[in-house]
Subunit: 412 residues, 2 copies
Amino acid sequence: MTNYREIQAPLRTIMTPGPVEVDPRVLRAMSTPILGQFDPAFTTMMNETMDMLRQVFQTNNKWAFPIDGTSRSGLEAVLCSVIEPGDRVLVPIFGRFGHLLTEIAERCGADVHLMECPWGQVFDQQAVIEEVRRIQPKVLAIVHGETSTGCMQPLDQIGPACRELGVLTVVDAVATLGGTPVKVDEWQLDAVIGGTQKCLSVPSGMAPITYNEGIEKLLLTRKKVERGVAQEQDRLEVRVPIRSNYFDLSQLQDYWGPRRLNHHTEATSMLYALREGVRIVLEEGLEARFERHRLHERALMAGIRGMGLELFNDVPWKAPMVTCVKIPAAINGESVRQMLLEQFGIEIASSFGPLHGQIWRIGTMGYSCRKENVLFVLSALEAVLIRHQAKIEVGRGMQAALDAYGVERAAN
Amino acid sequence: MTNYREIQAPLRTIMTPGPVEVDPRVLRAMSTPILGQFDPAFTTMMNETMDMLRQVFQTNNKWAFPIDGTSRSGLEAVLCSVIEPGDRVLVPIFGRFGHLLTEIAERCGADVHLMECPWGQVFDQQAVIEEVRRIQPKVLAIVHGETSTGCMQPLDQIGPACRELGVLTVVDAVATLGGTPVKVDEWQLDAVIGGTQKCLSVPSGMAPITYNEGIEKLLLTRKKVERGVAQEQDRLEVRVPIRSNYFDLSQLQDYWGPRRLNHHTEATSMLYALREGVRIVLEEGLEARFERHRLHERALMAGIRGMGLELFNDVPWKAPMVTCVKIPAAINGESVRQMLLEQFGIEIASSFGPLHGQIWRIGTMGYSCRKENVLFVLSALEAVLIRHQAKIEVGRGMQAALDAYGVERAAN
């Protein structure tokens, strides 16, 4: 017996940099009755999802599939499958998630070298390339879009330079995939990890990854088949085995590939969600989707500025899906967030580390990235700031946002 | 643009030992719009889920929460958080999943010692206890229910003996939790891992675990806070850090506990599913649920025997939720499975390792464990076996199953 009742979740307007609102079609897909993992109807869906992921990653890589875990499971799967203890890894840090890459690489036993720049900045690509030349790491692990600062690191020169230098690039595109171009092949990136709960608008719980032949070659040197399912030709011992079974990409690709060698039981309902999520992305079209993210970013920024507030990441390297607002002096940022949630059902984000208490972060990602949400968060923020005695330009933010949307003034 | 259409999944009768059919109420719960991970409405649901998991695990442990991954993620989270390289670990193997425990422990750097018995047998508890005395491991890692053989290892003496000897017990109860008693406290087990896609009838993608104060004490010696979120009092360096960030239980308990320290973004929809799944288990009542599993097991066994087929695991240590049927001589087991799937939409399982091609495995787990499913699988199996020229007792299996259900013969 239990006193607990069925789930009664309030309906929120989620304007954080993830997790964001899930497309209702994705929610519906998740209520589909499940299939067995080796049911041909299900393996067909696995293959279709791989095919669509390749398109979203803009790659011809053979391997593009999800890790069954939240976004950081994708980071760890790639790093722990690629890094052998003692391997040199370079991590340029420009926000919280660079620290996460460092943390994971260290736990893999890497000899980690860091570059750091102040939160709010990104690196000059040449400076990173110089450091790669100097350190000569096996792997450069770098974040594409830092949700902690709303900044985006250009990679179009870093990728080709690393390729030339024989350095593997591992890129955290968790926040950017599906919201802005992540050109895996054109930028010559070796392994890229995306996120579901950001611009793909799928619930957290899967991490789509892709990697190329260079990575695959390396994996095969560490490949080891699980004893319980091994056959005669399979190798059971290797020189430096991957330290994780769950994250062993050499085994996972045997499960996602034609051999379909039993590993875990694929997370059926999440796979349904991911399949539907990437299908919706491709139905909208990548370019149209990126343009939509830019449109709502412009309107949100115009509204914030119009209100007389200052932007933290009003820089050429701003990530289009994260807008950081400086908390006005003498205003309690957490009190504002709480009133937004309690009175309007709107969630925006606070911040980490050196920016803690300094900025609010507003996301415009995926399904959350739409006009009514942007207008609602602006109007609610204005009302709540007035309620906190903040000095703002009353009424101007909304008008600026409507202007950005090209809404004509009606004739008298 | 994409040519793929919305998901169109055939509706199957899933009678494998996992994944099994999901309760429609759980499917519906997953289509609930998501909440942010720190939304009070969501953290309340996290706490409620912990509370209900404790009841399902029959424990008063403080810690009972899911790992965001499939079942083996729970095994790896516990083992890699507990095992330091060089630690002695004893694994008694009586089927495929003992090999998996070995595989994971080895990758954690453990000095693994094995006991093996033929597939289809389990260990005499005293023999395990003797071996624990002899090897003096830090950890005994053992499977409770082996879906590969349909056998269940008694643990009621092993647990208390290990406690007395100062050996930590880590138990894989993936297949058994929710279908038969898993008495964490009474059996004095230190860490236990359950599965969602078996007797809980929740989709694969989460792994509920529980562990006690002894394990927690050990975790705290290895605790290390992530740099990106660390505060002054937090330790950044430890002697032997946990080799995984994703599976670091010392960090995960800070996320699930009152500190709510940011780690991953909780897999919202899967948490909804798990909360609803365990709620339904408790609503039915543990004892009633276990009795239901035994009832349908009896009917299925009677039906199989009545048909003139032989059971592989007709033993006192049979797991009630897995019934293994010997494939009759000269019958192609895979052809039978294929006809069941294609003509009836019924899925039963093949087998691994030494049992490959020898047995079919039929699951009666969770929502799949109900009368109409048992009767349907028996009647379909009979028809398909006749279609394969097998010598069976025509019509007798169904009558035996109806007898087992206590269905009276109608008067003329």
